[in-house]
């Protein structure tokens, strides 16, 4: 649209009477077409006006219903952002999934790093009531475990067994 019309666009759209820029409009078809399209658009926008017949007062007791809603909703918290918006919900779900994955990874890696002996024990085939503790190159020693109820005790026994094996060598 040309500058001559652009300057007066609101006046041109508001009135079909002679306004500044009318002379240009009479000569310029390009601007006339665009003005016509803007007029059609304005007519469409005015479709969003409530009809004059519309009784714009809400039903009686509106204020009380507003206050009820306010009491029910309480002040808006930061959590509403996550609960109410779809994007927020997606972020919350992704964060939870990530936290779960990290949690699982930490638990499993910690367990294997903490007790390699237990892991080694678990890898060996179990002999009924007895457990093989020594390594491949060391002479094997079998300790009889009277009580296997405590995992702490069994790992302590395993360390002692290793010490004895080392001295025997």
């Amino acid at each position: 649209m040309h500058r001559e019309i652009r300057h007066h666009i609101e006046d041109v759209l508001a009135s079909s009477k002679s306004v500044p820029g009318s002379e240009h409009l009479a000569q310029c078809e390009e601007c006339r077409i665009e003005i016509q399209r803007m007029r059609e658009q304005t007519a469409l926008l005015r479709e969003l006006r409530a009809p004059e017949s519309f009784a714009s007062e809400p039903r009686p007791g509106f204020y009380a219903r507003v206050m009820e809603r306010i009491e029910a909703e309480g002040p808006i918290s930061i959590w509403n952002l996550f609960i109410e918006s779809a994007f927020g919900r997606r972020i919350a779900v992704a964060s939870l999934a990530l936290a779960l994955l990290v949690g699982v990874y930490l638990v499993t890696s910690e367990r294997s790093a903490q007790d390699p002996m237990v892991a080694a024990q678990e890898a060996q085939p179990e002999i009924s009531g007895q457990q093989l503790v020594a390594g491949e190159d060391a002479p094997a020693r079998v300790i009889t475990q009277m009580d296997q109820s405590s995992a702490g005790e069994s790992s302590e026994d395993a360390v002692l067994a290793n010490l004895v094996t080392y001295r025997d060598q």
Binding site: R6, E47, R49, S56
Partner: protein
């Protein structure tokens, strides 16, 4: 057609004073009312609700054309006003601020219910439905009801393609019928800025309409 809207500048119309329309929103009777609400005066809030309820209600009805939805959203608007009024910064009038909340709530609602379906299904007044059933044009020779619904659907879609500020300005101008001067007073912007923003919005809407019809 010259599409360069970025370098647009408007001369001040009617002398320098008109372009510098400024309303002091901090020292008005309305500002005193807002400060009372901010100080948790419930009677002041009631006054605000009673003052603006019919305005809010008719804005929502104009957009959604469903009385029950209008009531529900109007309640939501005032609940938001209640919780957010403590952050009101007096840069615009209270009506402009409430108008913004109202239109945003309408658009949130439309987004949630999926625009197209909702507009077609709930926009009907009884009169519209009767016209549609009998497939007759409007009695007064105006646009038939189904065409009107399609047009409303289209303009709501187009308005969703511009920014919140642009949408509110054009609605305040064309739907609420405010003049450029009034808009300047309501928003705290000067008249030239309002004109530039309106012009850009109109062009964006035309471009969006062009894209939409090409897609169809």
């Amino acid at each position: 057609m010259d599409g360069s809207i970025g370098i647009l500048s408007f001369p001040s119309v009617g002398g320098g004073t008109r372009a510098r329309t400024r309303v002091d929103h901090k020292n008005s009777e309305e500002a005193a009312l807002i400060r009372r609400v901010q100080a948790r005066d419930e009677m002041a809030f009631r006054e605000i609700v009673e003052r603006y309820q019919s305005k809010v209600f008719s804005i929502i009805y104009g957009i959604l054309r469903n009385r029950n939805d209008a009531e529900d959203i109007a309640q939501q608007v005032f609940a938001k006003v209640y919780f957010s009024l403590k952050n009101f910064d007096f840069r615009s009038s209270l009506l402009t601020w409430i108008y913004k909340i109202t239109v945003n709530e309408c658009y949130d609602y439309l987004r949630k219910k999926r625009v197209r379906k909702l507009v077609y299904e709930s926009d009907f007044s009884q009169e519209d439905a009767q016209r549609m059933e009998s497939s007759e044009p409007a009695v007064d020779g105006s646009v038939p009801a189904d065409t009107r619904l399609a047009q409303r659907d289209l303009i709501l879609k187009l308005l969703s393609k511009v920014s919140e500020e642009e949408r509110n300005l054009i609605l305040l101008k064309e739907v609420e019928g405010h003049s450029v001067e009034e808009l300047a007073g309501m928003t705290g912007l000067n008249e030239n800025t309002i004109k530039v923003k309106l012009f850009r919005t109109r062009q964006k809407l035309l471009k969006a309409a062009g894209r939409l019809t090409r897609v169809r």
